[in-house]
């Protein structure tokens, strides 16, 4: 039995039913443990004070915002190559989750930036590329919503996702070029993984695991909903013909 057989909608519904509550429960455990550990049982940073603790929301959300797009890209490729409907629906299901993670990352970044940098928003390369990523998500979701025929919508959004990925990467490096050209040496971005000490690192890992599990759980749930919605549509079409 190859892994592709799990793409059968009926099998997919079968194995996700028991997996779904477990992934939600594990995500909740990881997030509760990680956030409580991070917020109450780690010391304040000597320069950033207690504001450093927003890292436990900001970094995992930003990580998953990018990973959600990568997952959509992979699912789109699978749809284009092997035409598994579940894959197209999973890509569709991941987009709203990804856009919310992007918003969380932008919002928590602004909240942290106000006391630290003295501004909610700066046209820093990282911030700007996240804003552009947000726009890409917006276009992708809008295209899904605009097309009525589900197969056409899946095809067109897959192509958009692939072309968009290339241009998203291009924008990322174009933005770096643009801002270095404007003010050199005023780099605001931190290499957080490099700098962060072990006290902050372990709860952060737990939080990242929590966000990954939360993403998996949400995408599975939304994919199941999409499959059910499509079944209902098929039943209605059959009833209309009968």
């Amino acid at each position: 039995m190859s892994m592709w057989e799990y793409a059968n909608p009926k099998l997919f519904m079968g194995w996700t039913r028991p997996v779904l509550p477990w992934s939600f429960a594990l995500a909740a455990v990881c997030l509760v443990v990680g956030l409580i550990w991070g917020f109450f049982f780690t010391p304040d940073d000597f320069r950033q004070g207690s504001t450093v603790k927003i890292i436990y929301l900001h970094v995992p959300a930003a990580l998953m915002a990018i990973n959600a797009w990568i997952m959509m890209l992979v699912a789109s490729l699978i749809w284009v190559v092997r035409r598994h409907h579940v894959s197209a629906l999973a890509a569709r299901a991941a987009a709203p989750v990804g856009i919310i993670f992007t918003l969380i990352a932008l919002f928590t970044g602004g909240v942290w930036g106000q006391p630290m940098w003295g501004t909610y928003w700066a046209w820093d390369p990282r911030l700007t590329s996240f804003l552009i990523l947000f726009l890409f998500y917006l276009g992708y979701i809008a295209l899904w919503e605009a097309i009525e025929d589900p197969d056409t919508a899946a095809d067109l959004t897959s192509v958009l996702c692939m072309v968009g990925s290339v241009f998203a990467i291009l924008s990322r490096y174009a933005v770096l070029f643009w801002n270095q050209g404007l003010h050199q040496g005023a780099s605001l971005s931190l290499d957080k993984e490099e700098n962060v000490a072990d006290v902050f690192w372990f709860p952060l890992l737990v939080c990242i695991a929590g966000f990954v599990l939360l993403f998996i759980a949400l995408v599975l749930m939304r994919t199941r909903t999409e499959i059910r919605a499509r079944r209902i549509r098929a039943l209605e079409a059959r009833a209309r013909r009968a």
Binding site: I132, L135, F136, L138, G139, A142, L143, A146, I147, T152, D155, L156, V159, L160, M162, V163, G164, F167, L170, S171, A174, V175, F177, W178, G181
Partner: protein, 218 residues
Amino acid sequence: MIALLLRDLRLAVRAGGGFGLGLAFFLIVVVLVPFGVGPETAVLSRIAPGILWVASLLAALLSLDRIFALDYEDGSLALLATSPLPLEGAAMIKALAHWITTGLPLTLAAPALGFLLSLAPEAYAYLLISLLIGTPALSMIGTFGAALTVGLRRGGLLLSLLVLPLYVPTLIFGAEAVRRGADGLDPNGALMLMAGITAGSFALLPFATAAVLRINLR
């Protein structure tokens, strides 16, 4: 291919083709900016490269939905798809025709509008070159967007939402090249990267455009 190019050009130039609308829009946007930000020449000459690039980008966007919409409605797009000419080639020719009717006039008109915004004298040559290199990419990316939304009844707004994020790298490199030219820095890096985007778009996007057209014509 040449016949298709000439046909598209003729259709665009004739009455009702919308030729010159983009140019007029470009002029109006550039005229409106000083009313918005005030008439100080120092401010205007500082923002002129960006304004000229954003305005030409919006003007190019304006005429995108005409690339395929009319051909789709009267069925000539389906004929094109079944003709011996590969659809990829047709897509590239469509982009080229769009560039000749909007990008090229915009490029030629931009220096004149640079005077209105008191662009720095050193920057004119770079404005011309950057628009000449960059606007073909705008046309090709826009053709892809137009192909995505061709089957939709109200695709215009969606088209801008899809295409504008794709325009970000071109805009950054284009405006940056002019700005560096105005500041007396070396703009060659930005120009070369933009030329790379244009060449890459024309090499790859016709395939994506043709694939999308085939899906829409199914």
